[in-house]
Amino acid sequence: MAERKWHLPVIVGLALVLATGPLVLSSYWIGLLTQIVVLAILAMSLDILLGYTGLPSLGHAGFFGVAAYGVAVLSTTYRADFWTSVLTALLVGIALSAALGLIVSHVRDVYFLMITLALGMVLWGVSYRWIPVTGGDNGISGIPSLEAHAGLPLAGPAVFYYVTLAVFLACAALMRVLVRSPFGLTLRGIRENEARMKSLGFNTWLHCYLSYVIAGAFASVSGVLWAYYNGFVSPTYLDLTASSELFLMVTLGGPATLVGPLVGAGAIVLLKNVMSAYTARWLLILGIVYIVAILAAPQGIWNLGRPKAG
């Protein structure tokens, strides 16, 4: 994982902040840390597709949003208990990615980009217009706190943060095993040269499909946590801006690494919050960040100093 000299100290530093930060920080900063960790799961899941498989999905926030809506609808309208809400929301997210995966797994490159973009926007449209279920533009509020819903003995931002961190570590470990497994290596092979992988006898369609579903599953996990974190869901969770911000986290942080998306998520969350505290023009600044990031670090922060892969 630590391929450059500066990687190891940065990883140690990040681990220290993530582990001990909430002990010393105010609840505002604990909130930001929680956001970073939840979105890092999401960004890592996109990286499985984008960085490792070479499938640029621009509708990835869709699964995140659908799982968040799952929790919201079940826990408020149907008053379902914790495990029913969480597991059903995850199942819905996974089922959706399994269904959409059938449509997108045979397309590649820029076609994949455009089709996932369109699918993502359709999901957004459903959340926006299917008012009886989703509440339309108003969204759904009143999601119980995770601590209360799950019946934990403790409550508060720090408790929620450590629950999130535990889920993050579990997901990160699983994804690390995944990308280093023969399966993960095959994905990288497909990214580099699909025709060659095919002629070696690999079922590349199935690999891309599974990669898409796995990424959708981890995105759903992230969506569930996000719904509990905010206590509120709205169509903005799955709009194009959300999907492309996610895309920016991965490309800015460093695709085809697992630390990169965490770095990218951290950078974007901090930037957005700090900027919106000082100026109402943060959309403008975010736009400039996109442009500068692509011009200055097209390989991503975590890949700085590495020669461009062929």
């Binding site: 449509i103 820029v110 194009l240 400039i288 442009i291 097209p298």
Partner: protein, 284 residues
């Protein structure tokens, strides 16, 4: 029957607007393999620029012309200064256009504020036409006719002129085309600028009905993308057919099942993708 004809005409009106937006998107895609997220922003800029010109001068025609020229120039600059350096690398290009989409959204808010508005109707086209029992607003018929004219003009340029032949060569095989002495880079800038101008023109045409508001850029973008996907990326003929299909489906969807109106767009797209992944007229 009357209902059916009225709704079909409404669908054709949506199709006309969609064609004006999607034709530039699909041509730029054909030449540059670019997924242009800022394309809806060009439409939005068109409405806002026309609004200012019309307020100052009172001339709709001048508003339309200025919007087209200004936005085409903006598109040209974006392509030449920022997008060109990435060649045909789709990911950084896409991210770049996303950055510009956010930039344009916020700049519009800064310059024009957030109040929604509509453009005035041209005086001659304010009424409606009656044929038998069907009553239809003249302006919508006018927009359908204009889009048909634009479509015909694009077809003539594409099929019957030297620049069209160069364009088709560049879409087919950019490397081979530049080896034959075609300046693909300049052609790309031109196509991108024309596409941006057409989107802005679409904005002016839709202005009296859809108006301008913050967020219209991303409201129309998905429809334009579905048109391009259904019709086939890079194909002008595909943009025509795709616009009609999407315009009709969207319109009847909204009329019949308003709550799932967005979802009804999904059906033709899945159907086409399942049967022909490259779209109706696209090539792999």
């Amino acid at each position: 029957m009357t209902y059916l004809i009225t709704q079909s005409l409404n669908g054709l009106f949506s199709a006309a607007l969609l064609f004006l937006i999607a034709s530039g998107l699909t041509l730029a895609f054909g030449v540059m393999k670019i997924v242009n997220i800022a394309h809806g922003s060009f439409y939005m800029l068109g409405v806002y620029v026309a609004y200012t010109v019309i307020q100052r001068t009172g001339s709709l025609l001048l508003g339309a012309v200025v919007a087209l020229v200004v936005v085409a120039a903006v598109g040209f600059l974006v392509q030449r200064v920022f997008l060109r350096r990435f060649g045909a690398d789709p990911l950084p290009q896409m991210m770049m256009t996303m950055g510009f989409a956010l930039l344009f959204r916020d700049l519009t808010l800064m310059i024009w504020g957030g109040d929604p508005f509509t453009l005035p109707y041209p005086g001659l086209l304010r009424g409606s036409m009656e044929v038998g029992e069907v009553v239809f607003p003249s302006y919508r018929l006018f927009v359908i006719a204009v889009a048909a004219l634009v479509g015909a003009a694009l077809w003539v340029v594409n099929d019957r002129t030297l620049i069209g032949a160069r364009l088709r060569a560049a879409v087919d095989d950019p490397e081979m085309a530049s080896a034959m002495g075609i300046n693909v880079a300049r052609l790309s800038g031109l196509v991108f600028a024309v596409g941006a101008g057409l989107a802005a023109f679409g904005g002016v045409m839709g202005g009296p009905i859809l108006g301008g508001y913050a967020g219209i850029d991303f409201d129309l973008l998905p429809l334009a993308f579905v048109v391009v996907i259904v019709g086939g990326m890079g194909s002008l003929k595909g943009a025509v057919v795709g616009s009609i299909v999407v315009g009709m489906v969207d319109n009847f969807g909204k009329a019949l099942v308003p709550e799932l109106s967005y979802f009804t767009l999904f059906a033709p797209m899945i159907l086409v993708l399942a049967l022909k992944p490259t779209g109706l007229y696209g090539r792999a």
